[in-house]
C-alpha cells in the first residue's frame, strides 16, 4: 500500500487530499531549504524488507563467537526471569515518553517510584533518583555534586588506584569543566590501604570514592573507617557497588556513605556490551543537588495518591546552564526492568543470589588454585562474583588459548587473569577448569 516509509500510513489519495488541504502542490513545496544546501536523498542505503533486515542482522551478529563468558569488571549479568522480558516489552511501557503528563502515565511513574524505593531500602539512603546512564557517569555526577554542596570546601577527588578505566575516563571529563581534580590513592592487597588514604586525604578533599566489591571483586573489609576518614576531613564519602552486592554486603548508610553509585543493571538486563543503569542515591540534605529525575508521591484533585516527576527545577529543561546536570533522556526502561527483577527475586531471592556470588567465586578460585601454575585468589580477601588469578605463564597466551576452547576471561596483568562467575555460567565452571588444565 505505502511506498517509502512502511511506518507512514498515507495512501497516495490521502497524501493528495492532505496536500490540497494545506494548499500546496507537492511534498517538496513544504520544505523551506535554500537550494545550495538541499540534498538529493541518495544516502546509498538500500531498503530491506523486515524479513531481510532480520536475516541480515542475525547473520552479522552470528559473527560473534559462541563463547562462555567469565567476564565481569563492572558489567555483570544474572539470569533474567522471562517475566521481566515479557512485561517490560509491553508497549505501554516500552513506547511511552517521559512522564510530562502524569495523569495518564501513573503506571510508569509508580514503577519508577518503586525502583527508587528499592534503592532507598538497599542503600539505606533516603533519596535515590530514577537513573543515570551507568556507574561511570553516576560516579562522575557524584563528584560534581561534591563540588557543589556547601558543606564541602575541598576540590580533590580521591579514587582508588584500581579502578575501571571507563569510570576514570568519564570522571576526568565530567570534572574538567570544574575546579575539581582527581587523584588516586593506594590499595593494599586489593582493597583500600587505610593508612595511606588517611595520610593522603587532607582537608582540601571534596570526595573519597571507594568500591565494595572492587572492580577486582574483592570485598572491602574496612568500609566504615573510610567513611570516618572522609567525614573527619570534610569530604563526602561516595561508595560504588551494585544492586546484587547491596543485598548482602554492608549497608552503605551504616558505613557513612553520603552518595552511593554503581550499576543496577546487574539485575534486569542480559549481557549487553556495557549498556548500563547508573544507580544514584544520597542523603536528604543533598536533595536539591541531585542530578537526573525524581519521582515523588502527591495527590490528585480527588485526593487519591498519585505520582509525578518532581523537583524539576534542578533539571536542564527548566534551569538550563544552572541545572544540576545535563541529563535528560536516562535509562528509565532499564530501571523498570531492574525493579521487576528485584521484585521477582524478593528479599530471600536477592540475599541468596548475593550469597551465591560469594560462594561460587570462592569455589571456582579454589578449584583453579588446585591446578599447577595457578594461584587464586591473588588477594587475601573475600570475593564477590570475581577474583584475580595468578598464572605462571603469560596471561595473554592463556586467555587466548582459553578463547580457542570457548571461554572468555579478563587479562588484568602480565600474569594475571580475572574470572567472574554468576548464575549464568556457574554450570560451566567445571568445563572452564578442564579448559584451564588443557591450556596450561
Amino acid at each position: 500500500m505505502t511506498r517509502g516509509s512502511p511506518y507512514a500510513p498515507h495512501t497516495d489519495a490521502e497524501t493528495e487530499a492532505m496536500l490540497e488541504a494545506v494548499g500546496v502542490e507537492s511534498q517538496e513545496d513544504l520544505f523551506d531549504i535554500p537550494e545550495g544546501v538541499r540534498f538529493d536523498g541518495e544516502f546509498g542505503i538500500e531498503a530491506r524488507s523486515e524479513r531481510e533486515a532480520r536475516r541480515e542482522m542475525s547473520r552479522t551478529l552470528a559473527k560473534n563467537d559462541d563463547l562462555t563468558e567469565f567476564l565481569g569488571r563492572d558489567h555483570h549479568s544474572h539470569y533474567v526471569p522471562a517475566l521481566v522480558d515479557d512485561l517490560s516489552r509491553r508497549s505501554e511501557f516500552l513506547t511511552s515518553y517521559t512522564q510530562y503528563q502524569p495523569e495518564i502515565t501513573q503506571g510508569f511513574l509508580q514503577v519508577l517510584f518503586e525502583y527508587q524505593s528499592m534503592l532507598v531500602e538497599l542503600t539505606g539512603l533516603p533519596v535515590a533518583n530514577c537513573s543515570m546512564y551507568d556507574a561511570a557517569t553516576a560516579l562522575a555526577e557524584a563528584a560534581r555534586l561534591a563540588g557543589r554542596v556547601r558543606r564541602v570546601s575541598g576540590t580533590r577527588v580521591l579514587v582508588p588506584e584500581i579502578l575501571h578505566e571507563g569510570k576514570r575516563g568519564v570522571l576526568d571529563n565530567y570534572v574538567a569543566g570544574t575546579d575539581l581534580t582527581v587523584e588516586t590513592y593506594a590499595m593494599d592487597d586489593g582493597t583500600v590501604d587505610i593508612d595511606a588514604l588517611r595520610a593522603q586525604v587532607g582537608e582540601d578533599a571534596a570526595m573519597v570514592y571507594a568500591e565494595n566489591p572492587t572492580v577486582r571483586g574483592s570485598i572491602e573489609p574496612r568500609l566504615s573507617e573510610i567513611g570516618d576518614i572522609a567525614e573527619e576531613n570534610g569530604a563526602l564519602f561516595c561508595l560504588g557497588t551494585d544492586v546484587v552486592a547491596l543485598g548482602l554486603l554492608e549497608e552503605p548508610a551504616a558505613v557513612g556513605a553520603d552518595v552511593v553509585v554503581g550499576e543496577a543493571d546487574a539485575l534486569g538486563m542480559p549481557t549487553s556490551y556495557g549498556m548500563g543503569l547508573g544507580l544514584f542515591a544520597t542523603r536528604e540534605e543533598f536533595l536539591r543537588q541531585v542530578p537526573g529525575r525524581l519521582v515523588g508521591a502527591s495527590e490528585d484533585a480527588a485526593d487519591m495518591r498519585a505520582y509525578t516527576l518532581t523537583l524539576q527545577t534542578r533539571e536542564q529543561h527548566i534551569r538550563k546552564e544552572r541545572a544540576t546536570s545535563n541529563i535528560c533522556t536516562n535509562q528509565a526502561w532499564v530501571a523498570l526492568r531492574t525493579a521487576m527483577h528485584v521484585a521477582s527475586l524478593g528479599p530471600s531471592g536477592l540475599v541468596d543470589l548475593a550469597k551465591q556470588c560469594v560462594t561460587d567465586a570462592e569455589s571456582l578460585a579454589a578449584e583453579l588454585s588446585g591446578l599447577k601454575g595457578v594461584r587464586a585468589p591473588v588477594h587475601d580477601r573475600h570475593h564477590f562474583r570475581e577474583f584475580v588469578a595468578h598464572v605462571d605463564q603469560p596471561a595473554t597466551a592463556i586467555a587466548s588459548d582459553l578463547e580457542s576452547e570457548g571461554f572468555a576471561v579478563h587479562v588484568v596483568g602480565e600474569h594475571r587473569l580475572q574470572v567472574c562467575v554468576t548464575d549464568l555460567n556457574a554450570a560451566k565452571t567445571d568445563a572452564l577448569v578442564s579448559a584451564f588444565e588443557e591450556v596450561l
Binding site: 544516502f43 560473534n64 514503577v111 502527591s298 533522556t329 526502561w333
Partner: protein
C-alpha cells in the same frame, strides 16, 4: 483505577545471617526488607500498571521536539538476538559481529548527517552534546586556542545550555529575530575570538529552517569557532538536507527520535556524534574501524576520552540500525516528507494561531488568552496526548506540536478535534481537567514542597 504499591501488598524482612552465610558478620548487612510476591501477583501488578500508561501504540503522542514515532516491533526481536548478548571485554577477534554492526551504523549515520566520522558512545542526546562540546574544546586546545564561550539561541533545548556549562564554558544566549530565527546581527555581535562554538537546531524549535545557515556558518568559522548541530529535529530533514553540507562541524543524533528506537518512558536513548574529518582524531575512545576486512577498536590519536563506561547503549544502537536498514534511502526521505506534511495538515485544522512559518515537522501554536497547560490537560479528557506546552518561551502560551509521520489523516483529524474541543470548553472545564483519566489533576506544588520519594516516606495511614 488504583494499584497498591508492591510494598503495600506484601513485604518481608530477611536476615542475611539466616541459613549459611559465606561471609563474616562484619562484612554483611543485618537484614533487607523488600516486596515478597509470587510471579502471578507480579504479573498482574505490572500488567495493571501498564494499563495506566499512555504509549505511542495507543495513539498520537505529538510532543513537539520529542519526535515520538511508532517503534517497529521487529527491532526488538533483533536486539533480543542471543548473539547480541556479549560482554564488552571480549576480544575483538570474538566480537566481529558486534563491531561490524557498529561500524556499519557509524557509516550510515555519517551518510545521513553528511559527517566524516561518527562515535556511537554517548548514551543519550545530552551526552552527545557534551561529547561534541568536549571535541570542540579539545580541538581549540590542540590549536593552542583558549576560548571560553559557547553561543546558544534562547530558543534552544535546555540541554544545550547545560552541556556547554558542564564542559566549563560560559553560555552566551542569543535572542531570536522577529521571524523566529537566529538574529544574524545579534550573532555578529556575539561572535568573537572567545567563541568556541555555536550550537544550533535546524529546523529550529518552532520548526523553521535557518535560511541563513550558510552565512551563519561563515560568521562562526571566520571567528575561529565551530558550528554544532543539535540533531533533535533531524527528522524534518532526512534526505532533504544534511548538517554537514550546511557547514556544521559537529552534530549529535537522537536515535530515539529520528530512528524510532523506543523511548522507554524516559530512556535509554543513544546520542551518536558525527564530526567533519578534521575533528575525527578527537572522538571518544575506543572507536571502531575496519582493517583488511575485519573490525577493530582503537583510540583516536587525540581522543577526548570517555563519556560512558563502555561503548554506550548497544541494544539501542542495534534497534536504530534495524530501523535505518528497513527504511533505506526511500523510506528515510519519505519519513521527513510525511512528518512535514502531517504537521502542516494538522496546523491547518487546529483553531489556533501559529505565529511562525513556514514550519516543517512541528509548529508552535499559541493558545492566546487560554492557559496552554490547562488546554493540554483538557486534551487528555478527549483521549489524546497533548503537545509540549509553554515552550519555547518566546511564543506566548506555546503549544509545540509534532505529530510525526506515523499519524494517519484520521488520527490527525481526531487530534485536531481534541485541540478544538478543548479550546471551546469553559475556563472551569479547563481548570478542572483532566477528569476522565487514571488520575485527576495532580498537585505538583505539594509534590515538590513535601518530597516523598520512596515508600518509606509515605505515612502509613495515607491512601
Amino acid at each position: 483505577l488504583y494499584e497498591p504499591l508492591l510494598s503495600e501488598k506484601n513485604s518481608t524482612r530477611v536476615e542475611t545471617g539466616e541459613g549459611d552465610s559465606p561471609l563474616p558478620d562484619d562484612l554483611t548487612r543485618d537484614s533487607v526488607e523488600l516486596p515478597d510476591l509470587s510471579e502471578p501477583e507480579l504479573a498482574r501488578h505490572y500488567t495493571r500498571l501498564s494499563q495506566m500508561n499512555w504509549s505511542v501504540e495507543m495513539g498520537p503522542y505529538p510532543l513537539g521536539s520529542c519526535t515520538m514515532k511508532y517503534n517497529p516491533s521487529f527491532t526488538e526481536d533483533v536486539a533480543a538476538d542471543p548473539n547480541a548478548a556479549v560482554h564488552p571485554d571480549r576480544s575483538v577477534r570474538s566480537s566481529q559481529g558486534t563491531l561490524e554492526l557498529l561500524y556499519d551504523l557509524q557509516d550510515y549515520l555519517g551518510r545521513i548527517g553528511g559527517m566524516d566520522a561518527v562515535t556511537l558512545q554517548p548514551p543519550a542526546g545530552a551526552a552527545g552534546e557534551f561529547a561534541g562540546i568536549l571535541v570542540a574544546k579539545a580541538y581549540h586546545e590542540a590549536n593552542g586556542d583558549d576560548r571560553s564561550e559557547v553561543i546558544v539561541p534562547a530558543s534552544a533545548h535546555g540541554t544545550n545550555f547545560a552541556s556547554a556549562a558542564m564542559a566549563g564554558y560560559d553560555v552566551v544566549e542569543l535572542p531570536s529575530d522577529d521571524d523566529g530565527r537566529v538574529d544574524v546581527e545579534a550573532l555578529d555581535a556575539a561572535v568573537s575570538e572567545d567563541t568556541a562554538a555555536l550550537m544550533l537546531t535546524n529546523p529550529n524549535t518552532v520548526g523553521l529552517f535557518e535560511r541563513d545557515i550558510v552565512e551563519i556558518a561563515e560568521m562562526v568559522h571566520d571567528a575561529g569557532g565551530l558550528l554544532y548541530y543539535d540533531g533533535a529535529n533531524l527528522n524534518a530533514l532526512l534526505g532533504r538536507g544534511r548538517p554537514g553540507d550546511m557547514g556544521f562541524d559537529i552534530m549529535h543524533y537522537n536515535v530515539h527520535k529520528t530512528f524510532a528506537t523506543p523511548h522507554g518512558g524516559g530512556g535509554p536513548g543513544a546520542g551518536p556524534v558525527g564530526v567533519v574529518a578534521e575533528l575525527a582524531e578527537f572522538l571518544p575512545k575506543p572507536h571502531v574501524r575496519e582493517r583488511g576486512g575485519s573490525y577493530e577498536l582503537y583510540d583516536p590519536e587525540r581522543s577526548v576520552g570517555k563519556v560512558h563506561g563502555y561503548l554506550g547503549n548497544w541494544l539501542v544502537l542495534v534497534k536504530a540500525y534495524a530501523y535505518i536498514a528497513r527504511l533505506g534511502d526511500e523510506g528515510l526521505a519519505d519519513a521527513s516528507a510525511k512528518a512535514v506534511l502531517n504537521a502542516n495538515y494538522l496546523a491547518e485544522n487546529v483553531d489556533l494561531e501559529v505565529p511562525y512559518s513556514p514550519f516543517h515537522h512541528e509548529f508552535a501554536a499559541t493558545a492566546g488568552d487560554r492557559d496552554a497547560a490547562d488546554v493540554a490537560k483538557r486534551m487528555l479528557d478527549y483521549g489524546v496526548h497533548p503537545p509540549t506546552t509553554k515552550w519555547p518561551e518566546f511564543v506566548p502560551e506555546a503549544m509545540l506540536t509534532e505529530p510525526t509521520e506515523v499519524e494517519s489523516r484520521d488520527s490527525l483529524d481526531d487530534l485536531a478535534h481534541a485541540f478544538n474541543a478543548s479550546l471551546g470548553d469553559s475556563e472551569e472545564e479547563l481548570e478542572g481537567a483532566p477528569s476522565r483519566t487514571t488520575a485527576q489533576r495532580i498537585d505538583q506544588t505539594d509534590a515538590a514542597r513535601n518530597p516523598r520519594l520512596s515508600w518509606h516516606a509515605l505515612d502509613d495511614g495515607e491512601e
